[in-house]
């Protein structure tokens, strides 16, 4: 583990029609960490994630990723720089097979354009094979090899969550943001998630985790950021957070 900050967010602010959703939040994620963002319902965790990935435009503040400012970038550019994410409510492509879903994740690694695809030039042929290979590897990594040929639309929720992780991994991100990966999962599925996140971290990918499940967070995190009503309540390692009085008050009071 080293001390390089891979992502630095400074004084982020976001309002929705006059209502403050995120007010003056700053933090930094260190390379190779599992960095968790927690907080009660409505604390602004998902909003923050949406700001980091460009889905929401930020009202003020800056975000630097690997030294470059990305505050005003559209989502696809941010994704191409190496930040990928999953969604709390799922963004699975329902009209595709599982394999195709993950192959979409490899989009940034391909180069073929519209014209060459139309005529299926040799480079497309080669690239297709490569992308297929990458996608299969990503599915393997997440333990989903058995689902490759299935249509995404027919699968249970828990599988879809893992497919989203596989899709994100297929793009070889440097920073992977997981938005409540355990939400809606049963205990068994949640516990299966734990080794997967560790495995991802061990490959050198920095993980940002938004999560409700305290057991999971405390087990896996290197650093934790606590949000409450859109502001930063506390920051530190899991042990420090567990002892923080403000945090306890917020959770009990909330």
């Amino acid at each position: 583990m080293n001390d390089i900050n891979i992502l630095i967010a400074k004084s982020l602010i976001k309002n929705f029609g006059g209502v403050s959703a995120i007010s003056d939040v700053s933090f930094a994620i260190k390379k190779g960490q599992v960095f968790s963002i927690i907080g009660p319902n409505g604390a602004g965790k998902t909003t923050l994630l949406n700001m980091l990935t460009g889905v929401y435009k930020i009202d003020s503040g800056t975000i630097h990723f690997n030294g470059a400012e990305i505050s005003k970038f559209p989502p696809y550019k941010i994704s191409n720089l190496g930040i990928n994410r999953t969604f709390q409510n799922l963004q699975i492509f329902k009209n595709m097979s599982v394999l195709e879903n993950v192959m979409v994740g490899c989009y940034n690694k391909g180069t073929s354009g519209l014209i060459s695809s139309l005529f299926y030039l040799p480079n497309v042929w080669k690239e297709e094979k490569q992308i297929r290979q990458w996608a299969i590897e990503a599915l393997d990594f997440c333990g989903l090899s058995s689902l490759i040929k299935k249509d995404a639309a027919v699968l249970p929720y828990g599988d879809l969550k893992r497919i989203e992780i596989a899709r994100s991994l297929a793009s070889d991100p440097t920073l992977l943001l997981l938005d409540e990966p355990a939400a809606g999962l049963n205990d068994k599925e949640t516990m299966e998630l734990l080794p997967l996140i560790k495995k991802i971290r061990d490959t050198g990918i920095t993980v940002g985790l938004v999560e409700h499940h305290m057991g999971l967070v405390m087990e896996v995190s290197d650093a934790v950021l606590v949000l409450n009503f859109g502001s930063k309540l506390a920051e530190g390692n899991p042990l420090e957070i567990q002892r923080n009085k403000d945090v306890i008050a917020a959770y009990l009071g909330g």
């Binding site: 998902t46 949406n50 969604f87 709390q88 409510n89």
Partner: protein
């Protein structure tokens, strides 16, 4: 010139109020089911044709119009029962194709019943133009404007004050949740198709004395109504009315001041530019995808 411009304005407002009335029908169905009903113009045509037919049977005007509205409402309900409701599990696009099919069917029905000729209908209270500040307006125009105003008011009351109206609105916000709290969504659909057809028929009976009616005249009227509804922001009754009026005034101003050959083109260019600036229409709510 000033006098001319005043006449253009009056013309625009009178034509616009017919668009507004047609747009209201679109809004109603859109609100409950998010379907753009391509057969809306045909409801207008059916209403007018039926009114002309009944009054041809030596019926008093008032009775003929009421009967036409009832008949068209009934057709609207049948359409919902036997087509829209049957297509369970169909996507939005499939539903829209059903309404396109219905529009062709209704045109065919009118053709078989009343033939291909254009028919005329008596003005409600004479044809003597009323002069006002150098501009002229027909009594029929006043009928159109005042009845549009009444329909808008009644609808506004219906949706904001009555339980039934609120239930319909609830369906438009969240179909599943409405079902859960015990609202009969199917009934709401039937009612809104019925009311929508009824409003269309009223519009038809009101317009027919001025613009005449034939089996194929509904399509163009429907198109203008759709434009008005989009312009105002789909799903917003007040917006629909304003959209209709704006569309009417823009059309008459362009044909009066610029070029009558390109008046429709100019209206559409204005509409496009407006959508580029305000992608959700004048009064529409912005759509944001929640992730």
């Amino acid at each position: 010139m000033l006098q001319n411009i005043f006449q253009f304005l009056i013309t625009g407002l009178t034509v616009g109020s017919t668009y507004a009335l047609i747009a209201l029908g679109f809004t109603l169905i859109f609100n409950v089911s998010h379907v753009v009903n391509f057969a809306q113009g045909e409801f207008v045509m059916l209403g007018a044709m039926a009114a002309i037919f009944f009054s041809g049977l030596k019926m008093p005007l008032f009775l003929a119009i009421i009967l036409a509205i009832i008949l068209t409402t009934f057709i609207g309900i049948l359409f919902e029962k036997f087509a829209i409701e049957r297509a369970k599990g169909a996507s939005l696009t499939s539903l829209i194709i059903i309404t396109i099919g219905a529009s062709i069917f209704f045109r065919g029905l009118a053709l078989v019943l009343w033939g291909k000729n254009t028919l005329s209908f008596q003005h409600f209270s004479g044809e003597n133009p009323i002069r006002f500040l150098g501009a002229t307006i027909l009594p029929q125009h006043l009928w159109i404007i005042s009845l549009t105003a009444i329909v808008v008011t009644v609808l506004a009351y219906f949706f904001s004050k009555t339980l039934f109206g609120k239930a319909i609105l609830a369906c438009s916000y969240n179909n599943k949740a409405s079902k859960l709290i015990g609202i009969n969504v199917n009934l709401m659909l039937v009612v809104s198709y019925g009311i929508s057809a009824g409003i269309g028929a009223l519009a038809g009976a009101l317009i027919a004395p001025i613009s005449y009616m034939s089996y194929d005249a509904g399509t163009m009227l429907g198109l203008k109504g759709f434009c008005a509804a989009i312009l105002g922001g789909m799903g917003n009754s007040f917006g629909s009315v304003l959209g209709g009026l704006i569309l009417g005034v823009v059309e008459s101003m362009t044909s009066g001041i610029f070029s009558s050959a390109y008046k429709d083109a100019v209206s559409f260019i204005i509409l496009l530019l407006l959508l580029f600036v305000r992608p959700q229409g004048l009064f529409g709510k912005g759509v944001s995808e929640r992730v």
